[in-house]
């Protein structure tokens, strides 16, 4: 092994590559676990998997991921452009409304989609007087794609919007001042600059789809993740589940490699915007733009929240039992704050390493993190059980184990928010600082970190809400008696106590939406000021 190749092209300080190494090591916990479990019965489970379910599952999962990614981009890019470049009224409000659906877990969106759009759902009830006896089937591929788009497009929106907000608009303005139409300007100048953000956003949405369980199971569309759950559920077959998990990990690795290919030809070191943005007047297109935004917000936000409120009101009327909220809120918020802080703290050096120094370690750290991200939370949780009970008995069944799972699962969310910001920053500012005699760490502390502030805040908010929503690992790894909001929602909804589920669900959404909503709200001020 040529160890020199592991070292980055430029010599990175230990404060950067040590966290990188740690990130790789953490990721290896689930990878090692999968390798161990999936081979314990020899190769026969592998050949059985390949001869039965794998080809079909692969096709179904990837097809769903591709369609969802396409839908997400189709919603997110126009929405991001409208809320950063166009003169629509109440731009900040729209930004917030487009962002906060991030706080809604896919299983809640799915419950609401079924309740509202099902063949005999609430919508059909409203349409009954018009002679609509039954709505088309919501279950299956399109229902799952629709639900995952509603739940997933804000991820793409956030990344694209951040890129647009911090991009240099001088060229766009020059183009428009030369009489080129906004649309052509968008395609010729704005869009190429968005490629890194788009690539990151698409990647997130693909991984989101591949690892989702809630939506695909409630809408009854079989994917890798759903099948892994079924293996555990039905036959308690850990080997079979691990084989599927390992294959899912390998597929993710392939996707990542192709994403890196895209990244290698994208423009680097684009300048930061210096002047204020001049907004594009939409004129009569404004109505259409508002209609588009309204539909996006209605489906992703109003629909699930509306159904929850409906259940809640019904339950209040029927005098239903409601669970005690306070301990669950406290636990979920504590975990999300601490988990987000640790995750961002680990991801920041890795992102700098990757954006500034390159090298095998940086790439390994980034890729390894993404691979675990596509694994179902259940698999990562069981991997930590395996290691915790053998090698970390003191930590086992304490909140630390849970925090560790969150870090492993969500470092990629932080990385994608951070990396985009860093790539966009001119590296020569740090070089200048270095040439003035500041060490690389000082340069990072005084130049990189302050400039990356929006990225850091976004990463924090993103990880915070993702932890708030996380269900499978939370259920398995939280200490006994440690009630959480997603746990409450899950337990009440599996009992069909929808009123009792609606209350913690609304609390979950409200709390998880706060940081990201604030960010979206402030985001516009920041963009206008600088």
């Amino acid at each position: 092994m040529n160890w020199a190749a592991l070292r980055p092209a430029r010599k990175a300080p230990a404060a950067l590559w040590l966290p990188g190494l740690l990130a790789v090591a953490l990721t290896f916990i689930p990878v090692f676990y999968l390798a161990l479990r999936s081979t314990e019965d020899g190769w026969s489970p592998w050949s059985r998997a390949f001869h039965t379910s794998v080809p079909q599952l692969l096709q179904r999962s990837l097809w769903l991921a591709a369609v969802v990614a396409l839908f997400c981009v189709a919603v997110a890019v126009p929405a991001a452009w409208l809320t950063t470049r166009a003169d629509i009224p109440a731009r900040r409000v729209w930004s917030v409304l487009l962002t906060v659906p991030l706080a809604i877990p896919s299983y809640i969106t799915a419950l609401a989609v079924v309740a509202f759009l099902g063949p005999k759902g609430m919508l059909q009830g409203w349409l009954e007087p018009l002679g609509v006896d039954r709505l088309p089937e919501v279950y299956g591929f399109w229902g799952a794609a629709f639900t995952l788009t509603c739940a997933g497009y804000p991820y793409v929106y956030l990344v694209v919007r951040a890129a647009l907000a911090s991009a240099d608009t001088a060229e766009e303005e020059a183009s428009r001042s030369l009489g080129v139409s906004p649309l052509r300007t968008f395609f010729a100048i704005t869009l190429p600059g968005l490629v890194p953000a788009l690539a990151a956003g698409i990647l997130l949405s693909v991984l989101y789809t591949l690892s989702d369980f809630g939506a695909v199971s409630l809408l009854n569309y079989s994917t890798f993740t759903r099948d892994i759950f079924i293996e555990y559920q039905s036959s308690f077959d850990r080997t079979g589940a691990a084989v599927l998990g390992a294959i899912l990990g390998l597929v993710t690795l392939l996707i990542l490699t192709s994403e890196l290919g895209v990244r290698s030809w994208l423009a680097r070191g684009r300048k930061r915007r210096q002047a204020a943005v001049r907004l594009v007047p939409l004129g009569r297109w404004g109505v259409l733009a508002l209609a588009f935004l309204s539909i996006a917000v209605s489906l992703a936000l109003v629909l699930p929240v509306g159904v929850l409120i409906y259940w809640l009101i019904n339950g209040l009327r029927a005098n239903a039992d409601f669970p005690a909220l306070a301990p669950a809120v406290r636990h979920s918020v504590e975990m999300a704050l601490a988990g987000a802080a640790i995750t961002v703290a680990l991801a920041f050096p890795v992102a700098i390493l990757s954006a500034r120094y390159g090298g095998l370690l940086a790439r390994a750290a980034e890729q390894a993190a993404y691979v675990t991200h596509a694994l179902p939370g259940l698999v990562v949780a069981l991997a930590l059980v395996f290691f915790g009970i053998r090698y970390a008995t003191g930590l086992y069944q304490t909140v630390w184990m849970l925090l560790l799972a969150y870090v492993i699962l969500f470092v990629p969310n932080a990385l994608s928010a951070l990396r985009g910001t860093l790539v966009r920053q001119p590296a020569n500012l740090e070089d200048a600082a270095a040439s003035l005699g500041k060490g690389p760490l000082m340069a990072i502390a005084t130049v990189t970190a302050p400039l990356a502030r929006p990225g850091l805040a976004a990463a924090f908010a993103l990880v915070f809400l993702t932890i708030m929503k996380e269900l499978p690992a939370t259920l398995i790894l939280s200490p006994p008696g440690y009630q959480t909001l997603p746990g409450l929602v899950w337990s009440r909804s599996t009992d069909a106590l929808y009123a009792g589920a609606a209350l913690p669900a609304l609390a979950l959404i409200a709390v998880a939406a706060i940081p990201v909503g604030l960010l979206a709200w402030k985001g516009d001020i920041g963009a206008l000021e600088s």
Binding site: L218, S222, I230, F236, E334, V385, I476, L488, A499
Partner: protein
Amino acid sequence: MHRLRILSLTTAAAALAVMAAACGGDDDDGGSITVYSGRSEALVAPIIEDFTEETGIKVNVKYAGTDAAAALLLEEGGKSPADVFFSQDGGALGAVREAGLLATLPGSITGLVPEQYRASDGSWVGISGRSRVVVYNPGLINASDLPASYKDLTSAKWKGKVGWAPANASFQAFITAVRKVDGEDAAKAWLEAMAKNDAKTYANNNAIVSAVASGEISLGVVNHYYLWGLIKDQGEINAKNHYLAAGDPGALVNVAGAAVLKSAPNKSGAEKFVEYLLQKHAQEFFAQETFEYPLANGIATDPRIKPLAELKPPAIDLSDLDDLAGTLALLRSTGVLK
């Protein structure tokens, strides 16, 4: 920069709070047990409170799905901190028993429950029973048209009108019963005929009952108590339960049960807890809250529900329903589970 500092201060404070929470030990005198519960909090917590009040034994409960709890126990093996596994279905108990993780319960506990509702080797005991039924919408179906056997559901008149949940554990137990009673080939033929008859797939039993009540489908194969749970949550709904003919695999009565782990740190506390679940008080609670059949101490079922004594399930040893892998393979090969 200011905002960043506030952010880091808050998170540092939160981290400290977490640390404090993690380090705070519980040094109670009455001893404590850890229960992994596949049954949800709403259905278990009140009984646990009463148990602690009565015995002084503190109970730490981990609520996870039955499948997740079983996977957790299998992964933890002999080092599990759990004392008791309270499972939603017999299959999960069977899987944990198979791995050699369950202790044998004393006869004084197993003796409380009729023989057909506990493991033959005493490794677990049924706490409450549930019958498979056909739930139907009385607005769409005349009672006289209802099927007598699960086999009738493949009839052309039910095409596209029957709901099922092939990914669900209770459905899979029913298929395992079909394999035992009518044989492998019959089970395969039935699944294929159902798929051809355009049976509608749902994620779980609740979804089926809701779909029947709304008229989305006319009938569905489920456990009996989901209907009553939904009625409790939403008031009267347009659905009724229909029990299939005597001895039909579609009339299978399965159990939710409990077991003590071999590795239990507090075995006597664990046994006390399992015994408590079979006492009058807990059995009454399950009957009222979950609408299941109490299995011990002669507690009556909810008067609206057909009593346990009148049920005529197929003569199957529940411990024989452990070939879940075989059922899963069958569901896959017939394309019922995609």
